[in-house]
């Protein structure tokens, strides 16, 4: 049956027998998609006199928007911060494998590295839509090098940098290009950062505060200048203190401009953040939470020693440490594990009741299905 042609020739797909999370409840509803857009079926019916060309039986599974991972350093043996002549195939491999975890878009993340690495790697990563080949690439997340030495975490100290002036010149010099940069993590207590944050925000780049020893006031200034994200809340920042909440205080700050929301990344792998802390953050500011994996190259690999950027790591079970220390250096939890953990503590994915990913769709097309 052809779709009504008054608005579009494109076929309409109706997902039936599914449960959709709507108004905080799982409801039995159908989902209608045309050309990658979710349709209002009532409007389709009355305005266009349209109907479905194809039906997909979801067999009672939960249908959810595809997961977006804005902080992922690599996986399956691929390290985005590793300079190579074929970065594109590494990005493609990860993009393909993460479909299994329900991720339909991601930001390949680069940790603090010398300029030569950025100059070599960044031009090889292209922003692209997802599809059968893998999850979509939204742009690069550069986590560093303009971060605090005190809160460097697993980042190599010798490559940390400061701003010599308020403009974008230091960034352009370091990264080589800002063209496909989507998120920049920086420490707002660095001198001249206000000007940098403002310029980046005006360019449409998301500024994220992280790996920083900033107090609340400095963090609020950065938000006023345009910063809108916090990199892995609680980790690599001053701990919450009742007389100076630090960056964590942004969750309930009254100096955030009214029409803006401060979002915060959370690695909910059960290791980086205690579930009680996760709940405190969520209850304080439920609208801002963004689950991220911060997954490293070892995600999907067996235990042992591996390289991340310019450093060596050790995998022990679900933990990844800087080799020889107890400093966590990123997680190896997959996005769907993070979602499940979050529930136990609260493009489209089909989930069973235990939130296991059964199938992943991009633009209404099935791009991965769990083999039974």
């Amino acid at each position: 049956m052809p779709s009504n042609k008054s608005v579009s020739d494109a076929p309409i797909c109706q997902f039936v027998n599914c449960r959709i999370l709507r108004d905080h409840k799982l409801q039995r509803e159908d989902l209608w998609v045309r050309e990658g857009q979710i349709l209002d079926p009532e409007k389709l019916f009355f305005d266009e006199k349209g109907f479905a060309d194809k039906q997909v039986d979801c067999e009672g599974l939960i249908i959810a928007p595809g997961f977006i991972d804005v902080q992922i350093n690599g996986g399956f043996g691929v390290d985005f911060s590793q300079p190579s002549s074929d970065v594109a195939s590494g990005v493609r491999l990860v993009g393909h494998r993460i479909l299994e975890h329900g991720v339909t878009s991601f930001c390949p993340t680069l940790v603090t590295s010398p300029p030569s690495v950025y100059h070599q790697v960044l031009p090889q990563i292209t922003v692209q839509n997802g599809g059968q080949h893998g999850a979509g690439v939204l742009g690069v997340h550069v986590e560093g090098p303009f971060i605090s030495a005190q809160k460097k975490g697993a980042h190599p100290e010798q490559y940390l940098r400061t701003f010599s002036s308020p403009g974008l010149s230091d960034l352009l010099q370091t990264y080589g290009t800002l063209e496909r940069v989507r998120v920049v993590t920086l420490a707002p207590e660095l001198e001249h950062s206000t000007g940098v944050v403002r310029e980046l925000s005006q360019r449409g780049v998301t500024v994220s505060l992280g790996h920083s020893a900033a107090n609340l006031s400095q963090a609020e200034d950065a938000v006023q200048s345009g910063a809108s994200f916090i990199t892995h809340l609680f980790n690599a920042m001053l701990p919450f203190h009742h007389r100076d909440p630090g960056i964590v205080g942004l969750l309930t700050s009254d100096r955030v401009p009214p029409e803006r929301t401060v979002f915060y990344g959370m690695i909910s792998d059960g290791i980086h953040t205690n579930p009680a802390a996760l709940r405190i953050a969520h209850r304080a500011h439920p609208k801002g939470i963004v689950l991220v994996t911060d997954a490293i190259m070892a995600m999907g690999l067996p235990p042992g020693r591996h390289t991340l950027g310019q450093q060596v790591l050790e995998i022990q079970g679900l933990h990844a440490y800087v080799a020889g220390t107890k400093t966590l250096s990123g997680s190896i939890a997959t996005m769907d594990m993070c979602v499940r953990h979050f529930r136990h503590a609260s493009d489209l994915v089909l989930l069973d009741d235990d939130l296991n990913v059964k199938a992943t769709y991009i633009c209404g097309e099935e791009v991965w299905r769990k083999k039974t």
């Binding site: 079926p41 009532e42 409007k43 019916f45 009355f46 266009e48 006199k49 109907f51």
Partner: protein, 272 residues
């Protein structure tokens, strides 16, 4: 008239749905031969719609060659508003069955010229060959569709101002806030429904009992507009026990005694 008295709401809904199903199958619609159905909204017909959807899902009936005409729609309420009758029909019926949008007809309460919209609706009914079966409900004030007390018994589709009783009854769909309920509606007239070949009125619940009494045991009166159907050759009232609470014992006994005959009308159709 025929008066069907079932034990409770669910049984009444099921009886009504089976009757519609059997009528549809008997008519045997096809391309060029559409079964025209008049439809109501509100809480009373919900059970009936659920059953019809069930029969569709079981493969017993199809709405491919059915044309529907709804009784009414609020004036000035956006079509996407969750309480509009368009939304009601989509969510409770159309989205679950195989009916095509072009075969559904609901008055447009946001038309630029409301009376022209009403006139056009009458023309559409005529063009479809009239209505085979008009299903309706009854208000606590005895109205059919929005033909409030005092409406002409030969009225046609037109704009009506809602009575206070109706606004109060409908407030529960608008957060209990009387101010949010629309004050005007487009409605088919009593005459429009009287033109249908057959009329089925669903009446359930004790709060409708007095209206039912006025409609069938007293005279034809424009204050209780459902009473007009005493003069229709093929009227069918489907009720539950509670709705008969104000009727005479004699009336109830008479019609209950005929249920075994009337139940033949809803027997499962023979296997093909």
């Amino acid at each position: 008239m025929k008066l069907m008295i079932l034990n409770d709401y669910d049984q009444a809904s099921e009886w009504a749905a089976k009757y519609i199903r059997n009528k549809l199958l008997q008519f045997n619609p096809g391309p060029g031969k559409y079964f025209t159905l008049g439809l109501p909204t509100g809480s009373t017909p919900l059970g009936c719609y659920k059953k019809l959807i069930e029969y569709y899902k079981k493969g017993q009936i199809s709405f491919q060659y059915v044309k529907t005409f709804n009784m009414d729609e609020y004036v000035g309420l956006p079509r996407e508003h969750p309480e509009s009758y368009h939304s009601f029909m989509w969510n409770n019926f159309f989205k679950h069955i195989d009916i095509r949008a072009e075969n559904t007809n609901i008055l447009d309460g946001n038309a630029a010229d409301l009376q022209a919209e009403c006139d056009a609706f009458e023309d559409k009914i005529k063009a479809a060959g009239g209505i085979q079966l008009f299903v309706g409900g009854i208000g606590p004030d005895g109205h059919i569709a929005f033909n409030e007390p005092g409406s002409s018994l030969v009225s046609r589709t037109r704009v009506k101002t809602l009575a206070q009783d109706t606004i109060i009854a409908n407030a529960r769909f608008f957060d209990g806030d009387l101010c949010k309920v629309p004050t005007m509606a487009l409605t088919v007239g009593v005459g429009t429904v009287m033109d249908a070949k057959e009329v089925m009125i669903l009446i359930t619940g004790a709060h409708k009992a007095f209206a039912l009494y006025k409609a069938i045991e007293e005279g034809v009166n424009h204050m209780w507009t459902v009473s007009a159907f005493q003069q229709h050759p093929q009227t069918l009232f489907v009720c539950d026990e509670d709705a008969t609470l104000e009727l005479r014992v004699k009336t109830v006994k008479y019609f209950k005694g005929m249920m075994h005959v009337h139940n033949k009308l809803v027997e499962a159709p023979p296997a093909p």
